[in-house]
């Protein structure tokens, strides 16, 4: 069965308004954004726990809410599973009773059979009689998932499913969760304020900010083609910079930045043709900046594009990688405080090149590694089909 979710919601609260529209298909949609952006509010509207002021919610062709048509199904009839932040397991009930809670309509024998099946699939055998407080964080997560999935919902909602766990557990449980969601194949909407989590778990990412959707796209597209500087900032992309357009062509854009002439590949899905002298936002991934070895002679201009000279003015050791802060050899205020570019090199490279002692470097960035961001008027368009 093919899954499809169409969401349009308006909800006004004192001091906050939610006004979003997005769609999702198969797999997991991750609602990502800072706390207080309206993500949990969206889940509550989807589940029917909160009534929107306007909008429409359609799950697999079933209209669950339509303000104009006066349709508002109660949460009991929506067939939507909800994994709450902190799980909200019933503390007075056993693991088996928690998981079987939503199976009352199926009759005693079938309820018991399904409970046993879910317990087995979740790897919770032997814990049937335990109470939630006697379980580990990971076991609780699986009970919460099992409880929500047991009635075979049309859609599963997960509110910050990993936030109740400590850091060491988070990563392994994130992979657990990913596996379970893939195995069950239930369409899911997940809320998180952690981009790594959104990226690892979501097939599609919907970026929330202050009650609005600023981009909704497949995860790869979001990372490589953020719709705007705001999205780039919110997903934690580094080296978001501003230059001035010299010449924009459908396949390339030439621009000026810190007295350098740079060339970037134009956005492949939407050729962006700003007039000369207009401001341009772009970003450079720190791991895609090359350091040119001094023993290799004169740099080959065909191979080494966007050449720049700079000096390491700061560095940070992240174990497997080093982050270097580079200030270009040009006058004027550096682009990012005391430095112009942040670059990342593997530890081995750092050691081989003896960066600890050698601070003056020539840099090169391939034109495909400079990502142009459409400027603000375009980014305000909000939802973008993915």
């Amino acid at each position: 069965m093919s899954h499809r979710l169409d969401v349009r919601l308006v909800k006004r609260l004192p001091g906050f308004s939610l006004d979003v529209e997005w769609t999702a298909g198969e797999g997991v949609a991750a609602l990502f954004g800072p706390s207080g952006a309206g993500k949990t509010l969206t889940l509550q509207c989807l589940a029917g726990l909160l009534e929107p002021d306007a909008g429409r919610i359609v799950v697999d062709g079933r209209v669950l809410f339509d303000a104009e048509a006066g349709i508002d199904w109660p949460p009991q009839r929506r067939q939507i599973g909800y994994v709450f932040q902190g799980y909200a397991l019933f503390p007075h009930l056993s693991v088996a009773e928690n998981i079987g809670f939503g199976l009352r309509d199926r009759g005693r024998a079938e309820g018991r059979r399904r409970t046993a099946e879910v317990i087995a699939r979740m790897g919770l055998e032997g814990l049937e009689a335990r109470r939630p407080h006697e379980l580990s964080g990971g076991q609780r997560q699986r009970v919460a998932l099992g409880r929500a999935l047991a009635p075979d919902p049309a859609l599963l909602l997960l509110d910050e499913p990993l936030s109740a766990l400590d850091a060491t557990l988070r990563q392994s449980l994130r992979d657990d969760l990913r596996r379970i969601l893939a195995e069950w194949g239930t369409a899911a909407v997940l809320v998180t304020h952690d981009f790594t989590e959104a990226y690892r778990l979501g097939d599609r990412i919907v970026v929330y900010e202050n009650g609005r959707v600023i981009q909704a796209a497949p995860r790869a597209e979001l990372l490589w083609q953020p719709a705007s500087e705001r999205v780039a900032g919110i997903v934690g992309i580094r080296n978001v910079l501003r230059g001035t357009v010299l010449k924009a062509m459908p396949d390339r854009i030439q621009f000026r930045w810190r007295e350098q002439l740079l060339e970037a590949v134009n956005s492949p899905t939407r050729s962006y043709l700003p007039p000369p002298e207009s401001p341009l936002a772009f970003f450079i991934r720190p791991e895609y900046v090359r350091l040119i070895r001094k023993d290799r002679g004169t740099p080959d201009p065909d191979h080494h594009m966007n050449l720049m000279q700079g000096r390491v003015v700061g560095e940070a050791d992240f174990g497997t990688t080093w982050t270097l802060y580079i200030k270009l050899d040009v006058p004027g205020t550096p682009a990012q405080g005391h430095y112009d570019l942040e670059i990342e090199v593997p530890r081995l490279v750092y050691e081989i090149l003896d960066i600890e002692h050698d601070r003056q470097w020539q840099l090169s960035i391939h034109r495909g590694s400079i990502h142009v961001l459409p400027s603000s008027p375009l980014s305000a368009a909000g939802e973008r089909a993915g």
Binding site: A47, G48, L49, P74, P75, Q76, R77, R78, I80, G81, Y82, F84, Q85, G86, A88, F90, P91, H92, F101, G102, R104, D105, R147, A148, P151
Partner: protein, 221 residues
């Protein structure tokens, strides 16, 4: 112990148990509504239920006479229809004790219900439970200790009721004379031995109740 004291003790226990049952029946739904619903008249219900805790018992008793006496607002039609009147029967003692004990249960139970995590109720809704089933299967079981503590306090309050009972039920030996009333009578007539015995009895019972309520309250946390 004199036959009179024994009958007072028996009557007191009967009245208190009936009153506690009535308090549970009426008070738990009121506590749930006060804790979980915002409705028109919320403050009025809250105030009315709490009032007997603040008012002098004789004032509450007076209102009960106005309501249930032979010529009372409810009492008169009842008398006209059946020839029965509540006043000066043990029913009156039970009703007076119920009204006086109700605030203790409602307050305690409402606090316990309000402290149940609402996410648990929402989880039950998404799993197909109506609000009514959710209250029975999730909210009330989780507020159980607080509700039991409230019932124990209500029982104790009913056992010690004096003023409102005197007003509505009178002080008829063997009929409406509960232990507190018989202590009063014993002191008035100089039967200090009898008074001391009953005072000791009531003190012991109350101590047991306080301990029980404390334990339940501690577990409710």
């Amino acid at each position: 112990m004199s036959p009179q004291a024994l009958s007072a003790l028996w009557l007191s226990l009967k009245v208190s148990m009936v009153a506690t049952a009535l308090v549970a029946l009426v008070g738990i739904p009121i506590a749930y509504l006060l804790a979980r619903r915002r409705f028109w008249g919320h403050a009025v219900v809250d105030t009315l239920v709490t009032l007997p805790l603040i008012l002098p018992p004789t004032v509450t008793g007076y209102y009960l006479i106005v309501l249930l006496g032979r010529r009372g607002i409810l009492g008169a039609p009842l008398y006209a229809a059946t020839g029965f009147t509540v006043a000066f029967t043990w029913y009156a003692a039970a009703i007076a004790a119920t009204v006086m004990a109700l605030p203790l249960l409602v307050r305690t139970a409402a606090a316990a219900i309000a402290s149940v995590d609402r996410e648990l109720e929402k989880a039950a809704f998404t799993l197909g439970r109506s609000e009514w089933r959710t209250a029975l299967e999730v909210t009330l079981p989780l507020a159980r200790n607080g509700i039991l503590a409230g019932l124990v306090l209500a029982f104790a309050r009913a056992l010690g009721e004096f003023g409102a009972t005197l007003m509505l039920a009178g002080n008829i030996p063997g009929k409406t004379q509960t232990v507190p009333l018989s202590i009063y009578t014993a002191v008035q007539t100089g039967e200090s031995h009898e008074a001391l015995l009953l005072v000791g009895l009531l003190t012991g019972l109350s101590c047991a109740v306080v301990v029980a309520a404390g334990r339940l309250g501690a577990r409710a946390q």
